[in-house]
Subunit: 653 residues, 2 copies
Amino acid sequence: RMDASAMWLYRWYYSSSCQRILSFTIFLILSLAFVETPSSLTSSSDVRFRIAAWEPPCGLTESVELLCLLVFVADVSVKSYLVGWSQYRNNPWLLAYFVVLGVSLTDWIVSLSLICWETVRIRRLLRPFFLLQNSSMMKKTLKCIRSTLPQMASVALLLALHLCLFTTFGMLLFTGEKEDQLRKERLTYFRNLPEALTSLLVLLTTANNPDVMMPAYSKNRAYSIFFILFTVIGSLFLMNLLTAIIYNQFRGYLMLSLQTSLFRRRLGTRAAYEVLTSLEGGKEDHLQAAGVRPETFLRALQKIHMASHCRQAIMQKVLSQGDRLLSADEFQKLFNEVDKRVIKEHPPRPEYRSPFLRSAQFLFGHYYFDYLGTLIALGNLVSICVFLVLDSDLVPDDRDDFLLGILNAVFILYYQVEMLLKIFALGLWGYLSHLSNLFDGFLTLVLLGLEIATLSVYRFPHSGWKPHTVGPMSLWNMTRLVNILIVFRFLRIIPNIKMMAVVANTLLDLVRNMRAFAGILVVVYYIFAIIGINLFQGVVVAPPGNGSLAPNGSESCGSFEQLEYWSNNFDDFAAALITLWNVMVVNNWQVFMDAYRRYSGPWSKLYFVAWWLVSSVIWVNLFLALILENFIHKWDRRDQHPHSLGTPEASYH
Amino acid sequence: RMDASAMWLYRWYYSSSCQRILSFTIFLILSLAFVETPSSLTSSSDVRFRIAAWEPPCGLTESVELLCLLVFVADVSVKSYLVGWSQYRNNPWLLAYFVVLGVSLTDWIVSLSLICWETVRIRRLLRPFFLLQNSSMMKKTLKCIRSTLPQMASVALLLALHLCLFTTFGMLLFTGEKEDQLRKERLTYFRNLPEALTSLLVLLTTANNPDVMMPAYSKNRAYSIFFILFTVIGSLFLMNLLTAIIYNQFRGYLMLSLQTSLFRRRLGTRAAYEVLTSLEGGKEDHLQAAGVRPETFLRALQKIHMASHCRQAIMQKVLSQGDRLLSADEFQKLFNEVDKRVIKEHPPRPEYRSPFLRSAQFLFGHYYFDYLGTLIALGNLVSICVFLVLDSDLVPDDRDDFLLGILNAVFILYYQVEMLLKIFALGLWGYLSHLSNLFDGFLTLVLLGLEIATLSVYRFPHSGWKPHTVGPMSLWNMTRLVNILIVFRFLRIIPNIKMMAVVANTLLDLVRNMRAFAGILVVVYYIFAIIGINLFQGVVVAPPGNGSLAPNGSESCGSFEQLEYWSNNFDDFAAALITLWNVMVVNNWQVFMDAYRRYSGPWSKLYFVAWWLVSSVIWVNLFLALILENFIHKWDRRDQHPHSLGTPEASYH
């Protein structure tokens, strides 16, 4: 649609405030899961210590949800109006959006009519869709993942073949009954086909590595060959092949998205040029000398939303070209100015009259003074560490914090003086214009506040001075914790070391480019956590008696109960997230599988294996691919312009 | 040197038999470690069950070693003679070779004069050098690794910073004394600075993931943020960045080595062309029309060692060109024939007179017959699995193998008949010319032998037939094991599935290209195993009493003793290798660290951390880089020639 009202709606819809409201609504509806009926509002998720959580009354979260859904209804209607009917039918995302909203609203009505006593809430599962459909980058990433699936399936087939082969082989190998060690191997890991399969699947993730081979290996060295061969083929070759496949698909992914956005901008500027030219043409009836007059362009420029320094740069460029018509090429080149990152100019230093003040200003404004500050911070850190080592053998209640209290006060005093001197040398605005100073100043003020509070509560340090713990963490400990944040001062040294600079820059770029991946992670976590809550809520029960503190000797070693994994359950959303995280990290995930098999049934294994596949196999590999892609992209650019390391570079959005 | 005797020596030295002797000598001197004084010739390495191993008398291994060293002396003298003195001084590898040999021989003399009672043998540590210096590819890889070290050091610095920051932070966070859970956290993982550092270092490898956060997390959910943040930054970001750095260095590594070898061949052929031209020039005094006459070339060709099919192809090409002189370009092009992989021609099928025999030949030579065989093999596998499932609840001694015995005999009979029919259809040589048939035939014959042996020992199957176990594995079990090898028949289907073909081809190429990496792995394992033996030999002692079978309840869960890791020691070379493997796989490596800290001293941690860095961080990442490189190289080539998937492709050596 190209009429004026649609245009106005388009502008309004894509205005930053409107988009921000949409993002906030998505955030709100997603975070409802923490408050809803199995609510996460307890300090502990341990089934032994947990107190009953506050449950929101029926209708509270539901009304918030209805508000969010209504915002989405408005969103989908605006979007489909803007897209138009013919486009609408061909846009599966928009169709799905419509369906999801319909289902959610129906589910909401059913839920309220049952006074919140329904067993399954479908609309919870559908919520992540709102996050997904709102980001074009995430849709693109999903498409990319989907296109790797056939190849991944072939590797998965190889993996399955490998697993089956070794399972049957292992079953035949470990039939020994006479020797104790072999019987132990058979009974523990190869009792029957499903158990053998599980043992080897876990070995594929190396989570039970030395244990699974120990009984047989201590009987005969040769048995270790079976397990090592399995690990080498499965874990080193096939699993890494999966990484390679995913990386191969995502190679050039960043480059492509960069090119696409460049191409769109080119197209946009070209269209703007054509429009401006036709305006001119209509007015003055030039026939051949097509072009845009600088004044027209400048007038148009005033109406566009853009960063003021970019506009300044473009205007200067236009004025420097004189009064002749701009050709299409020149018009394009003007917008290259947008890519150039402006070097931030710091406000001028205050000028003092007295020569003494001037020399003091020179002294404290010099970067050697920064180095001195870093050195003092290092001393601070060392002092904290030394006291940690000295105190390590004492029970916390017996520690004497007199000396440390004095030292800390001195350091905090130094930071105050340093801040004041810097403000004196650079001026207040000059001081604040440095990002690092901003951080330092904030930290220094927080430290000052904490120190004053500490001194007022515990009095001045004296021999045997020992601040008591009040609440979860004493004021004094808090002071020390904040003190440790001083470490971040050292990060400022990094840009001075060439190698570190590349690495640190890559990390920063990565964080910038990984929003889509993080979004997909959120979606996956959300869906699995909700499914997990539906499947396993209340399944893990506290052990009988108050056996919480004395470890119960009757539990076998390495079991869920002996390891006291009681907090890893699916009883509320926050606990489910942490449980899923622990399974994603893969170590000891067989303990979870085994426990939920016992508490819930053998089919729970499928849930954990599915989560392992999605999170650890696919997502972690995706993440690795992203890091590789970012780093190599960066590296290639650095190789092309070996001298541009310190100069401003274009960043992609 | 370019005189005739040097030339002859050069040819002789680089002849395949001479190089093979050298490789065998290297293999021999490396494998001596299994036999030498802490000898690995016991069936078990478990300190509880181990019987005293046979120790070779003084002088036996030493004399073998002397022989090997003498071969190396000959090798180094020939090499330095061929290289010449001026080159020799600039070749650090050759110099090092000389020094290593000198040290080894001195050490050998000292060892013999002390009648093998010396405490440290330096020459054992130096042995892997012989493997290293013999492979130019390994030297190149080492150089590549060395050039990544500066970048890796910068990431390591970031990692160390990250570790230190979180350690001090954790030490301050977990000072709780009042709550039981927090005290447990402090006492178990954050008791003092070194222990906190170790806990977090292990968490970096995720080997103690849920355990380390459990006590604090079950007190308060918020504590999990500390651990999750640590894992995300350390394990996901920084560790993967290491992978990226290594991969970046090895990108184009294969391509480069391919180009280098191509360039060398071009240079060689060009030189040959010049020589042949100058010969012609001397004989017939052509002035301008430089070139090589085909006859001269063919005569020269006869003298060269090369694969006969290549020579055939080149000769045909030459003869097809007629009698005119070959120009330099044409000369080069001739050798492109070497790259073309020959499609192996199978011998013609035997021709039978009778129409019945002909139709039978068509039937059994058809590829549908192959499919039938695969189907039968599948049935065989299924029957084995079904019986495994049925028998899983029975103790091995109660199983009735009557039906399975009958079934197995039937299947083995079928394989025999299939083999004979195929030989009938294709002829004996036609049958053997297929690689897959060779494998099938071999398997079938082995199965036949085993079945006959089984029947002769246990008689024909009858109800309640149950072959007894004799020795470590019964003949009957062996038959079933070999039967499972039938699974490899399914691998033949793989080339028919397009996706699988790429993946499987990549895996095969990988194995071909990874010799250098495997060599470096051998070197690293060897050095660390020898150091480990010197440091920790005999340190782990068997528990008092015959507590081997009944698990001792007094050991705390998760300790070396409770997990019965007694076989993981450094008492002989083979055991050390397996121990190192288990640490390399990283899971539960904190158990090893803890045990050796207790048995040997806190400094043993350094050894394990060093091994973790070298094996798990550097080598595993190297391996991943190799897989990525291979796969992407292959993929790029496939993209360039989308139709050449099934056609022969050049392989690189």
